[in-house]
């Protein structure tokens, strides 16, 4: 026996009247799951104030952290991916491209800028994971290739910030060949004795790791970033047992000898600046 009786079934609150938290005020840390104010994040180098987790950020945020007064010039804009294979899986590639452009307001998965770090010039190519998983296709390869040419011509050090699921399947062999393209261009940069710093961030995998990401004069990574050739799921399926704790994290790579240093995001700018001065003086 209840005191109150429901006379109409279902939830009747009209969705238009529903009070929702507007987007862009709060954010949840994917690591400690605590809620943080977004404003707090931007003033904290996009680190979780509770657990120091390095949140995934894009090129705009990295440039803001790196370049003096957030001042930089975009170089090599205007390149747009082309559906040369007429590729279609569950969605046509052209649709994926359009949706990604609309969602991210980016041209492709990499943004190249030239600016100054503590007064020293630097060209930085930064990948954006939000654009089709930061996948490397012809545009990414071409912009990196062009940036390397630019660095050689103007004798400016290069930094690439990797954040990628690997090569872009929808461009098949064209994306595979971007590995060869970027690596061979880097061999020219090396011959010209121009420093190249590679920063690996969460996640860096596949063809990106197996080309420019691993080829830095200095290889650094953010704490706890996933850096892999084959992704953990693929490895697990192959060996059919659980993966060891901490497998394929930047700490693991440092231990195995593939990184020079793990750099906390708050020390990133100073660390890069230090490296540049070592090369210069």
């Amino acid at each position: 026996m209840t005191w109150l009786k429901r006379i109409r079934n279902g939830i009747l609150t009209k969705t238009v009247e529903k009070q929702e938290t507007p987007d862009g005020i709060w954010s949840q840390c994917p690591d400690c799951k605590k809620t943080v104010r977004k404003k707090e994040l931007s003033s904290n180098a996009y680190l979780c104030p509770q657990c120091d987790h390095h949140l995934r950020i894009g090129s705009a945020e990295y440039f803001e952290i790196l370049f003096d007064d957030n001042k930089f010039t975009e170089i090599f804009s205007g390149y747009r991916a082309k559906d040369i294979l007429n590729f279609s899986d569950l969605k046509p590639y052209t649709t994926r491209l359009e949706q990604s452009k609309k969602k991210t307001d980016l041209e492709d998965a990499i943004f190249c800028g030239e600016g100054k770090i503590n007064g020293e010039p630097l060209v930085c190519c930064c990948m954006d994971f939000s654009f089709i998983g930061g996948s490397m296709g012809s545009v990414v390869g071409e912009k990196i290739s062009k940036s390397i040419d630019y660095c050689i011509e103007h004798k400016i050090p290069l930094m690439i910030i990797s954040k990628s699921g690997g090569a872009r399947m929808m461009e098949a062999a064209f994306s595979l060949m971007q590995m060869a393209k970027t690596a061979s261009k880097l061999s020219l940069l090396a011959r010209a004795k121009i420093p190249y710093i590679s920063l690996m961030t969460d996640p860096t995998s596949g063809g990106v790791t197996a080309s420019y990401a691993m080829l830095g004069d200095i290889n650094i990574a953010e704490p706890k970033a996933l850096v892999a050739f084959a992704g953990p799921r693929v490895v697990k399926e192959t060996i059919k047992r659980e993966l060891p704790e901490g497998f394929q994290t930047s700490e693991f790579l440092l231990e195995k000898g593939f990184l020079d240093k793990i750099v906390h995001r708050k020390e990133l700018k100073q660390t890069i600046s230090d490296f540049l001065s070592y090369f210069k003086n």
Partner: protein, 318 residues
Amino acid sequence: MIFLDFEKPLLDLYDQIEKWQRIGKSKSLDVSDRITDIEHQIENTRKNIYKDLNGWQRVQLSRHPERPYTLFYLSQICDKFTELHGDRNFGDDKAIVGGFGSLDGETVMFIGHQKGSNSKTRQYRNFGMPNPEGYRKALRLMKLAEKFDKPIVCFIDTPGAYPGIEAEERGQAEAIARNLFEMSQLKVPILCIVIGEGASGGALGIGLGDKILMLENTWYSVISPESCSSILWRSWEFKEIAAEQLKLTAKDMTGFGIVDGIIEEPDGGAHHDPEKMAQFIKQRIIKELKELKKLDSEERIDLRIDKYANIGEYDFSE
């Protein structure tokens, strides 16, 4: 003989031959005319089947269990071949083989993926999936070739670089990346030939060169059709469609200008007449190396890097 699903009509004809042979024996009849007739039919049917194969069918052929692998070709095309082992660092990978060989009186450094031909050797060769030490052995041998000014020929045939725990620990990605970087600057000619499967970074890790060729029934792409299907379609069932979508055949790849030429296979594929296939490869290597040797090393390196710099399709507007 092993027949693939699209070779079914051939199987029926071979069965008929067997049937007639049995009849001839038991009834003491002369059935040779009948048999010659069927043999003609087999030849025609084979030509017809092989005239126009689709992507997935070529993927199947590239993995045919009777298909010849690197060491077989080397035994056929070299007057002499001595395998060299180890990366001088960790171990000797069995999925990549290499060594000096004498081809038409000249020394060539041969490097190639190696698969096994029965369950025991397949396991021994890790199904042609190299660990990092395989790529590092390959690089050591390439540097050795460079030191003594000998050209390099790479045979590509892998389902991919091995995705295991130890491979990751020892830096699979770094090993492949390093090879791409170093191969760009090698002073000697590099000729790469896809003889079977050209799967992704595992293939490219010994696949950067002045000239890239593919045998007629091979494939080369960023991912295998099965894995592509599982990632993009979220099911293994779409491998045939994925094979079409990836445009991974020798014809597609030369059309894109990513691969420089095709070496024809005998009717019925390389496995149908391995000796003949080996001779085709040998003649082509001799011809290509002769061309590549005409350039000096600086020119060759410039052309090599330019070739890769030009691969990529995009739209550009200010």
